[in-house]
Amino acid sequence: MEAYGYREGLRDGLPIGLGYLSVSFGFAIWAVKQGIPGLTLILLSGTNLTSAGQVAGVTVMAAGGLLIELALTEFIINLRYALMSVTLTQKLSPTFSLWQRMLAAFFVTDEIFAVSSTRKGLLTFPYMMGLGCLPWIGWTLGTALGAFAGELLPAALSAALGIAIYGMFMAIIVPGALEEQGVLLAILAAVGLGLALRYVPLFRFLSEGFVIIISAVCGACVAAWLKPVQAGEGDA
Protein backbone atom coordinates (compact mmCIF):
# COMPACT_ATOMS: atom_id res chain seq x y z
CA MET A 1 0.00 0.00 0.00
CA GLU A 2 1.26 3.44 -0.89
CA ALA A 3 0.97 6.39 1.42
CA TYR A 4 0.94 10.03 0.42
CA GLY A 5 2.28 13.11 2.16
CA TYR A 6 1.62 16.82 2.54
CA ARG A 7 2.96 17.81 -0.91
CA GLU A 8 0.73 15.35 -2.76
CA GLY A 9 -2.18 16.65 -0.73
CA LEU A 10 -1.43 20.26 -1.68
CA ARG A 11 -1.21 19.32 -5.35
CA ASP A 12 -4.53 17.44 -5.29
CA GLY A 13 -6.17 20.36 -3.47
CA LEU A 14 -5.11 23.09 -5.93
CA PRO A 15 -7.92 22.61 -8.50
CA ILE A 16 -10.46 22.36 -5.68
CA GLY A 17 -9.11 25.59 -4.17
CA LEU A 18 -9.35 27.46 -7.47
CA GLY A 19 -12.91 26.24 -7.93
CA TYR A 20 -13.86 27.27 -4.40
CA LEU A 21 -12.32 30.72 -4.91
CA SER A 22 -14.65 31.61 -7.75
CA VAL A 23 -17.75 29.97 -6.30
CA SER A 24 -17.34 31.59 -2.87
CA PHE A 25 -16.79 34.94 -4.60
CA GLY A 26 -20.27 34.55 -6.10
CA PHE A 27 -21.62 33.28 -2.79
CA ALA A 28 -20.37 36.39 -0.94
CA ILE A 29 -21.84 38.81 -3.49
CA TRP A 30 -25.17 37.03 -3.17
CA ALA A 31 -25.00 36.88 0.66
CA VAL A 32 -24.14 40.60 1.01
CA LYS A 33 -27.31 41.32 -0.98
CA GLN A 34 -29.25 39.26 1.59
CA GLY A 35 -28.06 41.78 4.19
CA ILE A 36 -25.28 39.81 5.92
CA PRO A 37 -22.14 41.88 6.82
CA GLY A 38 -18.88 41.03 5.06
CA LEU A 39 -16.90 40.20 8.22
CA THR A 40 -19.62 37.78 9.33
CA LEU A 41 -19.41 36.09 5.94
CA ILE A 42 -15.64 35.64 6.16
CA LEU A 43 -15.99 34.07 9.62
CA LEU A 44 -18.84 31.93 8.27
CA SER A 45 -16.78 30.60 5.36
CA GLY A 46 -13.66 30.10 7.47
CA THR A 47 -15.48 28.07 10.11
CA ASN A 48 -18.01 26.17 7.97
CA LEU A 49 -16.31 25.39 4.65
CA THR A 50 -19.52 24.21 3.00
CA SER A 51 -21.53 25.65 0.11
CA ALA A 52 -25.08 24.35 0.41
CA GLY A 53 -25.09 24.68 4.20
CA GLN A 54 -23.93 28.30 4.02
CA VAL A 55 -26.48 29.27 1.36
CA ALA A 56 -29.26 27.75 3.44
CA GLY A 57 -27.81 29.25 6.63
CA VAL A 58 -27.66 32.75 5.14
CA THR A 59 -31.26 32.33 3.95
CA VAL A 60 -32.37 31.49 7.50
CA MET A 61 -30.21 34.28 9.01
CA ALA A 62 -31.53 36.88 6.55
CA ALA A 63 -35.09 35.90 7.44
CA GLY A 64 -34.24 36.21 11.16
CA GLY A 65 -35.11 32.53 11.66
CA LEU A 66 -34.96 30.59 14.90
CA LEU A 67 -31.68 29.07 16.11
CA ILE A 68 -33.30 25.62 16.24
CA GLU A 69 -34.44 26.08 12.65
CA LEU A 70 -30.88 26.99 11.67
CA ALA A 71 -29.42 24.02 13.56
CA LEU A 72 -31.92 21.58 12.01
CA THR A 73 -31.31 23.01 8.54
CA GLU A 74 -27.55 22.60 8.89
CA PHE A 75 -28.01 19.12 10.32
CA ILE A 76 -30.15 17.90 7.43
CA ILE A 77 -28.15 19.59 4.69
CA ASN A 78 -24.79 18.49 6.04
CA LEU A 79 -25.87 14.99 7.04
CA ARG A 80 -24.13 13.72 3.93
CA TYR A 81 -20.79 14.59 5.57
CA ALA A 82 -21.51 12.00 8.26
CA LEU A 83 -21.70 9.31 5.61
CA MET A 84 -18.53 10.62 3.95
CA SER A 85 -16.73 10.64 7.29
CA VAL A 86 -17.86 7.08 7.96
CA THR A 87 -16.59 6.08 4.53
CA LEU A 88 -13.24 7.77 5.13
CA THR A 89 -12.72 5.89 8.41
CA GLN A 90 -12.29 2.75 6.31
CA LYS A 91 -9.30 4.29 4.50
CA LEU A 92 -7.42 6.02 7.32
CA SER A 93 -3.85 4.97 7.97
CA PRO A 94 -3.45 3.24 11.38
CA THR A 95 -1.06 6.06 12.37
CA PHE A 96 -4.04 8.47 12.64
CA SER A 97 -4.50 9.45 16.28
CA LEU A 98 -7.79 10.64 17.76
CA TRP A 99 -6.90 14.34 17.66
CA GLN A 100 -5.66 13.97 14.09
CA ARG A 101 -9.02 12.45 13.13
CA MET A 102 -10.75 15.36 14.85
CA LEU A 103 -8.68 17.90 12.90
CA ALA A 104 -8.97 16.16 9.52
CA ALA A 105 -12.78 16.01 9.97
CA PHE A 106 -12.98 19.80 9.57
CA PHE A 107 -11.99 19.47 5.91
CA VAL A 108 -14.61 16.92 4.84
CA THR A 109 -16.41 18.52 1.87
CA ASP A 110 -17.96 16.92 -1.22
CA GLU A 111 -14.92 17.62 -3.39
CA ILE A 112 -12.27 16.79 -0.77
CA PHE A 113 -14.15 13.59 -0.01
CA ALA A 114 -14.38 12.74 -3.70
CA VAL A 115 -10.61 13.18 -4.18
CA SER A 116 -9.47 11.48 -0.97
CA SER A 117 -11.86 8.53 -1.13
CA THR A 118 -10.82 7.69 -4.68
CA ARG A 119 -7.06 7.93 -3.91
CA LYS A 120 -5.39 4.53 -3.97
CA GLY A 121 -3.88 3.34 -0.71
CA LEU A 122 -4.27 4.58 2.84
CA LEU A 123 -4.83 8.22 3.78
CA THR A 124 -2.18 9.79 6.02
CA PHE A 125 -2.63 12.79 8.30
CA PRO A 126 -0.12 14.99 6.37
CA TYR A 127 -1.87 14.19 3.09
CA MET A 128 -5.28 15.17 4.50
CA MET A 129 -3.86 18.45 5.88
CA GLY A 130 -2.26 19.27 2.52
CA LEU A 131 -5.47 18.41 0.70
CA GLY A 132 -7.58 20.67 2.92
CA CYS A 133 -5.21 23.66 2.88
CA LEU A 134 -5.79 25.29 -0.52
CA PRO A 135 -9.55 24.64 -0.63
CA TRP A 136 -9.87 26.35 2.78
CA ILE A 137 -7.78 29.33 1.64
CA GLY A 138 -9.68 29.53 -1.66
CA TRP A 139 -13.09 29.36 -0.01
CA THR A 140 -12.30 31.97 2.66
CA LEU A 141 -10.33 34.32 0.38
CA GLY A 142 -13.01 34.17 -2.33
CA THR A 143 -15.62 35.08 0.28
CA ALA A 144 -13.54 38.07 1.44
CA LEU A 145 -13.00 39.27 -2.13
CA GLY A 146 -16.67 38.89 -3.01
CA ALA A 147 -17.83 40.61 0.18
CA PHE A 148 -15.51 43.63 -0.06
CA ALA A 149 -14.55 43.93 -3.72
CA GLY A 150 -17.83 42.69 -5.15
CA GLU A 151 -19.11 46.29 -5.30
CA LEU A 152 -16.29 47.20 -7.67
CA LEU A 153 -17.76 44.92 -10.32
CA PRO A 154 -20.23 46.24 -12.87
CA ALA A 155 -23.80 45.72 -11.58
CA ALA A 156 -24.70 43.35 -14.43
CA LEU A 157 -21.72 41.09 -13.70
CA SER A 158 -22.33 40.98 -9.97
CA ALA A 159 -25.99 40.15 -10.62
CA ALA A 160 -24.97 37.33 -12.96
CA LEU A 161 -22.54 35.91 -10.34
CA GLY A 162 -25.55 35.21 -8.14
CA ILE A 163 -26.15 32.12 -10.26
CA ALA A 164 -22.62 30.68 -9.84
CA ILE A 165 -23.32 28.68 -6.70
CA TYR A 166 -26.49 27.19 -8.20
CA GLY A 167 -24.51 26.29 -11.32
CA MET A 168 -22.13 24.35 -9.08
CA PHE A 169 -25.04 22.57 -7.39
CA MET A 170 -26.37 21.55 -10.81
CA ALA A 171 -22.94 20.22 -11.79
CA ILE A 172 -23.27 17.84 -8.82
CA ILE A 173 -26.88 16.69 -9.20
CA VAL A 174 -27.35 16.45 -12.98
CA PRO A 175 -24.62 13.83 -13.59
CA GLY A 176 -25.87 11.95 -10.50
CA ALA A 177 -29.37 11.84 -11.98
CA LEU A 178 -27.97 10.58 -15.29
CA GLU A 179 -26.21 7.71 -13.58
CA GLU A 180 -28.84 6.51 -11.13
CA GLN A 181 -32.61 6.36 -11.29
CA GLY A 182 -32.75 6.62 -7.51
CA VAL A 183 -30.92 9.96 -7.57
CA LEU A 184 -33.26 11.29 -10.28
CA LEU A 185 -36.23 10.14 -8.18
CA ALA A 186 -34.87 11.85 -5.07
CA ILE A 187 -34.35 15.14 -6.95
CA LEU A 188 -37.77 15.12 -8.63
CA ALA A 189 -39.58 14.21 -5.41
CA ALA A 190 -37.75 16.86 -3.38
CA VAL A 191 -38.18 19.60 -6.00
CA GLY A 192 -41.86 18.73 -6.53
CA LEU A 193 -42.65 18.75 -2.83
CA GLY A 194 -40.56 21.89 -2.35
CA LEU A 195 -42.54 23.73 -5.03
CA ALA A 196 -45.81 22.61 -3.44
CA LEU A 197 -44.72 23.76 0.03
CA ARG A 198 -43.55 27.12 -1.32
CA TYR A 199 -46.50 27.97 -3.57
CA VAL A 200 -49.61 26.29 -2.07
CA PRO A 201 -51.09 29.00 0.21
CA LEU A 202 -51.96 26.42 2.90
CA PHE A 203 -48.21 25.95 3.61
CA ARG A 204 -47.29 29.62 3.59
CA PHE A 205 -46.50 29.46 7.33
CA LEU A 206 -43.44 27.27 6.61
CA SER A 207 -40.15 29.17 6.44
CA GLU A 208 -37.56 28.46 3.73
CA GLY A 209 -35.36 26.44 6.11
CA PHE A 210 -38.16 24.06 7.03
CA VAL A 211 -39.23 23.74 3.37
CA ILE A 212 -35.70 22.55 2.53
CA ILE A 213 -35.64 20.11 5.46
CA ILE A 214 -39.08 18.61 4.80
CA SER A 215 -38.79 18.33 1.03
CA ALA A 216 -35.23 16.90 1.16
CA VAL A 217 -35.98 14.29 3.85
CA CYS A 218 -39.19 13.19 2.09
CA GLY A 219 -37.47 13.11 -1.31
CA ALA A 220 -34.57 11.01 0.02
CA CYS A 221 -36.97 8.64 1.84
CA VAL A 222 -39.12 8.13 -1.27
CA ALA A 223 -36.02 7.32 -3.33
CA ALA A 224 -34.56 5.06 -0.62
CA TRP A 225 -37.90 3.22 -0.33
CA LEU A 226 -38.19 2.63 -4.09
CA LYS A 227 -34.46 2.19 -4.75
CA PRO A 228 -32.69 1.01 -1.58
CA VAL A 229 -28.87 0.92 -1.62
CA GLN A 230 -26.98 -2.30 -0.79
CA ALA A 231 -23.89 -2.01 1.39
CA GLY A 232 -20.77 -1.47 -0.70
CA GLU A 233 -22.48 0.37 -3.58
CA GLY A 234 -23.18 4.07 -3.83
CA ASP A 235 -20.97 5.13 -0.96
CA ALA A 236 -19.27 7.89 -2.92
Binding site: E74, F75, F106, V108, A223, A231
Partner: protein
Protein backbone atom coordinates in the same frame (compact mmCIF):
# COMPACT_ATOMS: atom_id res chain seq x y z
CA UNK B 1 -25.00 39.82 18.53
CA UNK B 2 -27.55 37.41 17.15
CA UNK B 3 -25.39 37.03 14.05
CA UNK B 4 -22.62 35.55 16.21
CA UNK B 5 -25.03 33.10 17.82
CA UNK B 6 -26.05 32.03 14.32
CA UNK B 7 -22.37 31.61 13.39
CA UNK B 8 -21.65 29.55 16.48
CA UNK B 9 -24.62 27.24 15.85
CA UNK B 10 -23.77 26.76 12.18
CA UNK B 11 -20.07 26.10 12.75
CA UNK B 12 -20.79 23.80 15.70
CA UNK B 13 -23.43 21.68 13.99
CA UNK B 14 -21.46 21.42 10.76
CA UNK B 15 -18.24 20.44 12.54
CA UNK B 16 -19.85 17.86 14.84
CA UNK B 17 -21.54 16.13 11.89
CA UNK B 18 -18.15 15.74 10.23
CA UNK B 19 -16.12 15.02 13.34
CA UNK B 20 -18.16 12.55 15.42
CA UNK B 21 -18.35 9.82 12.73
CA UNK B 22 -14.74 10.30 11.60
CA UNK B 23 -13.37 10.20 15.14
CA UNK B 24 -15.54 7.51 16.68
CA UNK B 25 -17.28 5.37 14.06
CA UNK B 26 -15.87 1.85 13.77
CA UNK B 27 -18.74 -0.17 12.28
CA UNK B 28 -20.57 -0.49 8.96
CA UNK B 29 -24.16 0.57 8.22
CA UNK B 30 -26.02 -2.28 6.50
CA UNK B 31 -29.69 -1.25 6.29
CA UNK B 32 -30.36 -0.68 2.55
CA UNK B 33 -33.06 1.90 3.37
CA UNK B 34 -30.77 3.91 5.68
CA UNK B 35 -27.90 3.67 3.21
CA UNK B 36 -30.32 4.90 0.56
CA UNK B 37 -31.50 7.87 2.64
CA UNK B 38 -27.89 8.93 3.34
CA UNK B 39 -26.90 8.40 -0.28
CA UNK B 40 -29.84 10.33 -1.79
CA UNK B 41 -29.99 13.14 0.77
CA UNK B 42 -27.38 15.47 -0.81
CA UNK B 43 -29.07 15.28 -4.19
CA UNK B 44 -32.51 15.94 -2.69
CA UNK B 45 -31.15 18.90 -0.69
CA UNK B 46 -29.34 20.46 -3.64
CA UNK B 47 -32.37 19.90 -5.89
CA UNK B 48 -34.86 21.64 -3.65
CA UNK B 49 -32.37 24.46 -2.96
CA UNK B 50 -31.67 25.04 -6.65
CA UNK B 51 -35.24 24.98 -8.00
CA UNK B 52 -36.88 27.48 -7.85
CA UNK B 53 -34.19 29.73 -6.26
CA UNK B 54 -31.94 29.65 -9.34
CA UNK B 55 -34.61 31.47 -11.36
CA UNK B 56 -34.46 34.53 -9.12
CA UNK B 57 -30.70 34.35 -8.47
CA UNK B 58 -29.76 37.02 -11.02
CA UNK B 59 -32.58 39.42 -10.12
CA UNK B 60 -34.28 38.96 -13.48
CA UNK B 61 -35.82 35.76 -14.92
CA UNK B 62 -34.64 35.66 -18.55
CA UNK B 63 -30.89 35.72 -17.81
CA UNK B 64 -31.49 33.21 -15.00
CA UNK B 65 -33.24 30.82 -17.39
CA UNK B 66 -30.32 31.17 -19.82
CA UNK B 67 -27.86 30.35 -17.02
CA UNK B 68 -30.02 27.42 -15.88
CA UNK B 69 -30.18 25.93 -19.39
CA UNK B 70 -26.42 26.23 -19.87
CA UNK B 71 -25.81 24.62 -16.46
CA UNK B 72 -28.23 21.80 -17.34
CA UNK B 73 -26.55 21.19 -20.70
CA UNK B 74 -23.02 21.17 -19.27
CA UNK B 75 -24.16 19.06 -16.31
CA UNK B 76 -25.52 16.49 -18.77
CA UNK B 77 -22.08 16.54 -20.40
CA UNK B 78 -20.54 15.91 -16.95
CA UNK B 79 -18.34 18.99 -17.01
CA UNK B 80 -16.50 20.00 -13.82
CA UNK B 81 -18.07 22.03 -11.00
CA UNK B 82 -16.07 25.13 -11.77
CA UNK B 83 -16.73 24.98 -15.53
CA UNK B 84 -20.49 24.69 -15.02
CA UNK B 85 -20.57 27.47 -12.40
CA UNK B 86 -18.60 29.89 -14.59
CA UNK B 87 -20.45 29.01 -17.81
CA UNK B 88 -23.83 29.57 -16.12
CA UNK B 89 -22.58 32.94 -14.86
CA UNK B 90 -21.28 33.89 -18.32
CA UNK B 91 -24.56 32.90 -19.96
CA UNK B 92 -26.57 34.97 -17.47
CA UNK B 93 -24.20 37.94 -17.92
CA UNK B 94 -24.27 37.89 -21.73
CA UNK B 95 -28.06 37.51 -21.73
CA UNK B 96 -28.51 40.48 -19.40
CA UNK B 97 -26.21 42.61 -21.60
CA UNK B 98 -28.24 41.62 -24.67
CA UNK B 99 -31.47 42.49 -22.84
CA UNK B 100 -30.09 45.94 -22.01
CA UNK B 101 -28.97 46.49 -25.62
CA UNK B 102 -32.39 45.80 -27.15
Amino acid sequence: MKLYLYLLVMAGVTYLIRMLPLAFFRKKITSPFLLGVLHYMPFAVLGTMTVPAIFTSTGEPISAVAGFLVALLLGLKRRSLIEVALAATAAAYVTSLLLQAF
